[in-house]
Amino acid sequence: MRPEAATLMLEVVGLECRRGDRRLFSGLGLTLEAGTLLHVRGRNGSGKTTLLRTLCGLFAPDAGEVRWRGESIRDLGDEYRRDLLYFGHLNGIKGELTGIENLAIAATLDGDRVATADIWTALERIGLAGFEDLPTRMLSQGQKKRVALARLMLSRAKLWVLDEPFTALDVDAVSLLQGLIAGHVAGGGLTVLTTHQEVPLTSGQVARLDLGS
């Protein structure tokens, strides 16, 4: 393990989040080290999505803070977002643009210079060969999701935050995604995800967090 990778760590300290006037959770604390996957579980409305959005810095907690490499993510700002990849309920791809265009824009915004050939390869690997230059609105729900997931292959982010990544995917795509996550974690990355399915992970540590038990 490289020395800089050892400092990769996500910490949550005394986190309290409210949605509207309702308290979702309070006093939440956890530490996630490099090469770990955190599986967040809980009923609907228990605050899984809010927790994930708080980890990304989209949602400001009512108390407590999230730390990355020992520093508060509020202070890190753009520096933290460089290490972060968030995958939410919405795919975040434009229906009028092709898969290639979508991924190229996403890469530019991440500050990466990705060769077009790599994007073609990524789309092919995720099972979209032949669909690369169609406007994504012509694709099926699952195919759109695959386009979005192709970002995982192109991104160099250390921390993946995935909200229900397995829904609307067929068996092949699920196993492909599992492979991607396993590879990311094995390579010293961190992953936080929510899913109703069990995630069999062959390598690396799997931590579990139950919300609103």
Partner: protein, 223 residues
């Protein structure tokens, strides 16, 4: 920095080109409003000459207002806006790129069509030139200030009406000096300069402050 700015700008222009009707509706709204006025107030040449500058500016205000609703809405619905908030780029830069694209699509056409509507109101050649210049300086301000309102009302029911309630009062300075410039140009062309300089100053201030306020508003709205 510049690479990201161009990336978003070209992205938004490409998107608009693949959905062309959206651009044209704003333009035609502007033309229709301006054309309806003489039917309401009478077609007498003297009245139209006096009303012309004000009518054109009020119509421009309303047209840019209508278009604002869609500034962030599409990106909000498909989640791309959320992804923009999570990139390592300064959000205000991305917002500025989006506002620029929006202005090119909805503000610039108004400037270009101004001579046509100016003739409907019997404006002289110089007055039309002044009007184009004033619109060129003024319409970006409308887009910039309006972006704050668009970000605040993102995804709300009846957001369009609310947006006009919030933003139209803030458009008053642009309306006063934009219409004022055309007004005085009919008497003495030399008097126009302070008006245009004021509009220019407003534009620069809005250019600095509005993207910051809009990105703050976006972070609030996407929480």
């Amino acid at each position: 920095m510049a690479r990201v700015f161009w990336c978003i700008l070209i992205r938004d222009l490409t998107l608009a080109m693949r959905r062309r009707t959206d651009v044209l509706t704003t333009l035609f709204f502007f033309v229709i409003v301006v054309s309806l006025f003489p039917l309401g107030v009478g077609t007498e040449r003297k009245i139209l000459e006096i009303l012309g500058p004000g009518v054109v500016w009020v119509a421009a205000l309303l047209a840019s207002m209508l278009a604002l609703e869609r500034l962030f809405a599409a990106d909000y619905e498909d989640g791309t806006l959320e992804q923009m908030l999570l990139t390592a780029q300064p959000l205000s830069l991305l917002v500025l790129a989006k506002i620029s694209a929006h202005w090119i699509l909805t503000g610039l056409p108004l400037v270009l069509i101004a001579p046509l509507v100016g003739m409907q109101y019997h404006l002289t050649g110089t007055a039309i030139w002044v009007m184009m210049l004033a619109l060129l300086l003024g319409t970006p301000i409308l887009s910039l200030i309006g972006a704050i309102g668009a970000a605040l009302t993102l995804g709300l029911r009846g957001g369009g009406i609310l947006l006009s309630l919030l933003i139209l009062p803030l458009y008053i300075p642009v309306l006063v000096y934009g219409a004022g410039a055309v007004e005085v140009s009919r008497i003495d062309l030399m008097d126009v300069q302070p008006y245009l300089m004021l509009l220019g100053a407003f534009f620069l201030i809005a250019l600095i402050l509005a993207p910051l306020a809009s990105s703050a508003a976006l972070r609030i709205s996407l929480e």
